[in-house]
Symmetry: C2
Subunit: 416 residues, 2 copies
Amino acid sequence: MIVKEVIDSPVAACAPQSGAVPSSRSCGIASTRLDRWALARIQATVASAPIRFALWDGYELASSAGTAVATILFKNRSALFGWVWDPELNFGEGYMSGAVEIRGDLLTLLEAIYRTFASSPARPWWLWQKSNDARAARENVHHHYDLGNDFYRLWLDRDMVYTCAYFPTPDVTLEEAQIAKMDLVCRKLQLEPGERVIEAGCGWGSLALFMARQYGVTVRAFNISSAQIAFARNRAREEGLADRVEFVEDDYRHVRGTCDAFVSVGMLEHVGAPDYPTLGRVIDRTLSDRGRGLLHFIGRDQSAPLNPWIRKRIFPGAYAPTLREVFAHVLEPHAFSVLDVENLRLHYAKTLEHWRHRFHTAGDQVATMFDETFARAWQLYLAGSQAAFRTGWMQLFQVVFARAGSNAIPWIRVSG
Amino acid sequence: MIVKEVIDSPVAACAPQSGAVPSSRSCGIASTRLDRWALARIQATVASAPIRFALWDGYELASSAGTAVATILFKNRSALFGWVWDPELNFGEGYMSGAVEIRGDLLTLLEAIYRTFASSPARPWWLWQKSNDARAARENVHHHYDLGNDFYRLWLDRDMVYTCAYFPTPDVTLEEAQIAKMDLVCRKLQLEPGERVIEAGCGWGSLALFMARQYGVTVRAFNISSAQIAFARNRAREEGLADRVEFVEDDYRHVRGTCDAFVSVGMLEHVGAPDYPTLGRVIDRTLSDRGRGLLHFIGRDQSAPLNPWIRKRIFPGAYAPTLREVFAHVLEPHAFSVLDVENLRLHYAKTLEHWRHRFHTAGDQVATMFDETFARAWQLYLAGSQAAFRTGWMQLFQVVFARAGSNAIPWIRVSG
């Protein structure tokens, strides 16, 4: 607990005379043998990564793996020992507060670190996460998605799509790629005019409106973020689609009715593994005999908890599952038949590249809207995500499924 | 045991005076109340299927579910009670021996039965199967694949491909569809000239030769069927590909060397679940850092043992897994990253339709080559398989994977 409190006040442990300005190079006291031992211990955990490490008084450890791509500078003792204590949490805490500074390119550094990580051993999927009940889900979603539509408008695409885009070629614009993604989802679901779609977790409503507009379906779209639902309803009215797209401010657990297609893009990450059986029952309760489903989610090659800093600062309650976990706990209990799986992780890396570029351009506005610490946290989150998808630390899966035995399935699957 | 012995001699239990001709309508004795009770009990197990049931003396039970699509006639008491005792095994035994006769279309009847089956509850994957060690594997394979190349030539395509084909449109020929399948596999693997491929379970060598001929790769292809290996080596010599395609008569466990692509089409079914970890280690040992892999196999939506008659008469040691089982025991332990999954079950139903048609045409030759019982067993196996894929009782999965973190993966996946 002491470590955590110290980290929350990044320069407190350095020395009172150093003041409260975390950006100063040195906090005024010389590093000790213990400090240097700690730095060497940190370096040993990522020994194969070409990174230089430095302390507040100018002491440096050269890269142990060739020419360094960047330097990690600890600006005070609490940041240093915070990393030793819990590197996964406190790298983010230190970067966000300014007590850890990166000299060089953040993305390159993060990719180098991810590449050194050996794959995590599998852990029981239920051990390290508590259930997200409806109230917890609401708080978790509020934490992230109710930051204000103006904030997201600064760096998302025109349609406000906050999930992995699909780039037919790497050089199309983010706007084009988000439209291509929505179209790909519709084609994978084989939507026909007049069909009924349920969308669980609809963001600002882009996909629901796209499906109604381009494919002539009716949509009931669920979301527990008030800010997003208000925005989406307004768009439906403006586009004259309010009679065909209903935005419901409610939890996915309360989805009722029947549908020909069940779609969820970027929500499973927030459901949490203990509630996968609930999601499976919701789909089973709503999908018609000839129905198709599509789940689009961030996943992993092997089971592992999400980075604790991301869970603390960015996505409380979030979890990125393996395909096996989703099949075992969502689809298999109801004998849904998997038709098609596509891994789009390089498309998510590209999406994040666009978001980061726009976020960087809007840097001053973000800092004004919130503060510098918030901006740094989000820069780290976006760069860390891009690095994770580039290095294969994270995956992006689209899974298409149908009722067992249904022959209302495509003869040939769709492609980009 | 008594039941089994009786079944092996189908008419013995009826009455000595009935002779040994199973095709006679009646075995000469009247059905009792017990026989009729047994028949009603059988009907109750498939009550929602539109099927008529009949006994040897003309007694009939009308369909309990609308107009009957076919009649199942028990020609003697042992066939009747064999079904009660173990329907999954003894339907096949009775049909094969002639003691159970189908009046109407066999395929339609089988589809009706499959549709009535509720999904099997999941069972522990290791409970109902013993490991196929190398000797058992050889015996199992010999049982099926060493029936003689002349037999398979009667009803397979020109290239002797004995796995699910890929029909770009449902009306292309089987020959075209098998070539399209081989090409699809090569494109999914992104084969480049000069790359090294290992194929585990190569049948008569069609895919190995296709890859070398059309994609310029070198192939080491493994198979434990002597008849198939001899045939394949001969083809390689005839085509002038013997320097680039090596056919090795050995078990997949003994695969050595390094490859850029690991491919296995229709072998996983014979590996058996207890040996999945072994297969995973073999792939891990052989695949290069930028390597890709493809597994093509018959699977299921939910865990269940293969039909016991199929295991007894057609495929000893075979098992059709769920995706979850393959991921859990083959891919995840080595952090292989799943890139792409496609379910081609309707293509397997279409493939089987072609095989059945050709098998039917070659009926007299099959009966001459073996005997009538063998021909009936194979007719049932082919019709049962077609019905299983049509009704979604079985699936056909192609899974593409790569090393964790490898970016030598396609930007856009291939399609038909």
